[in-house]
Symmetry: C2
Subunit: 256 residues, 2 copies
């Protein structure tokens, strides 16, 4: 188990996911809030689900038919009754404990995204582009969920590095102590600074006349397509805590 | 008709689409070519369509149910038998001639993307992430198609600015002369330079230690996630010519 795993490789993957999250948020920010996408009931549908929920459910079913959700970092928001792949899939290296696939914090991600995050980075308004809006939401949710559930690999590699530190805490179900062992404040500060910088660089309006110092972003963050501070807040309040929840959930059953 | 249209607004929209195209290509470049996604037949499917074709067809059906493909710049690759929207949609301002929705160069975009572009910006290889790969392809196709079909607005605004120049050529069906009238070499050179610069900025590996001059990209383009030269080539060989094909197709029927 886990012979391909290294902390450097896992960290590299997490850093690359940051770009995907920033891109997805920048794209969603093209559209205003578009609240009707989140409460309008389907015409003729008696279950009254919103367009957003309808779209994510159906998109996940399609992705499952195409062979997605086979890897433990790809976790559906609506795992009930997902169809089987219609096309041949290629196995992936099994580096995690077999129950890894069942570890999910997607309910918390869903609530966080729609109730907390969306108002922080979209402007109030309604331009009627609902279908496009929910497709962009799905991209954000997928990128966030994958980054956070990648915590399973982080936990595995940390466990393998120091089983003697983790095993007694796992046997004792010492959730808080495990959380402390997984927390590195200095690293977290660096991550927050980096995602903020990425939002500043990727969200700028590039013109041929740019001066060279715009790699640090515009003089004024308000010119960025997504406020860079939202990215550090997103990571501080939700992405890193939820990732550690995933890590603890994984570790608590690591010795089963 | 077209009271909301201005050349400045249309140009602004085209420039913003560049960012979406660059983001989509950078995301697709995370995965290698993954050729089996393009030739493996569906298990049990007798029509033998590839995973990519299956995915785009089904994704377009889902997006149509959500209310997409109502605006003339959003053109499906598989328009046959698209389902109707299941949710209430909001009208959009009708600024184009009514036949605008039927102008499509998606067949050419499809061939260009899979046969020409994909080998230019993905590395040869097969990592088995086929479902993710085709979802990323769909995002690229959608962004390219929207940018190119935005040419309908470009044509309309140019026609309105100078109907006396366009009308005789339209009556004479003078395709080449129309193409000349729509071609501004200096503008095209600027666009090519700008998309290349965007690829350099958005595709860099951002670290906290970056020096400030990296807004111009890495010293070495090979460190970029997509070679910036591919973007200028994409625009030079395909995006701008296909946009002008859309413009000419639109104008030829503008006086019907």
């Amino acid at each position: 188990m886990a012979e391909q795993l290294s902390l450097a490789a896992v960290r590299g993957a997490l850093i690359r996911e940051e770009d995907s999250i920033v891109f997805a948020l920048i794209e969603r920010a093209r559209r205003p809030r578009n609240a009707p996408a989140y409460y309008a009931p389907a015409a003729g549908a008696d279950d009254g689900q919103s367009l957003a929920e309808f779209f994510v459910r159906e998109a996940e079913a399609l992705h499952a038919k195409a062979g997605h959700y086979e890897k433990p970092e790809d976790v559906p928001f609506f795992p009930q009754d997902l169809p089987s792949p219609l096309f041949p899939t290629k196995g992936y290296p099994k580096v995690l404990h077999p129950f890894a696939s069942s570890v999910s914090v997607n309910d918390a991600i869903w609530k966080m995204y729609f109730n907390e995050l969306l108002p922080l980075f979209t402007v109030d308004g309604d331009d009627g582009y609902y279908a496009e809006t929910v497709a962009l939401d799905f991209a954000c949710l997928k990128a966030l969920s994958r980054r956070i559930h990648y915590g399973k690999y982080v936990a595995e590699v940390k466990f393998q590095d120091a089983p003697q530190d983790y095993s007694p805490l796992i046997h004792a179900k010492a959730t808080d102590a495990l959380m402390n062992l997984l927390t590195f404040k200095a690293v977290e500060e660096k991550v927050k600074k980096r995602v903020e910088k990425k939002a500043r660089i990727f969200g700028q309006n590039v013109t041929l006349e740019d001066s060279a110092d715009k790699n640090e972003g515009s003089a004024d963050d308000s010119e960025c397509k997504v406020n860079p501070k939202v990215l550090s807040e997103l990571y501080d309040r939700w992405v890193m805590p939820l990732t550690k929840d995933v890590e603890v959930d994984y570790l608590l059953r690591r010795l089963d």
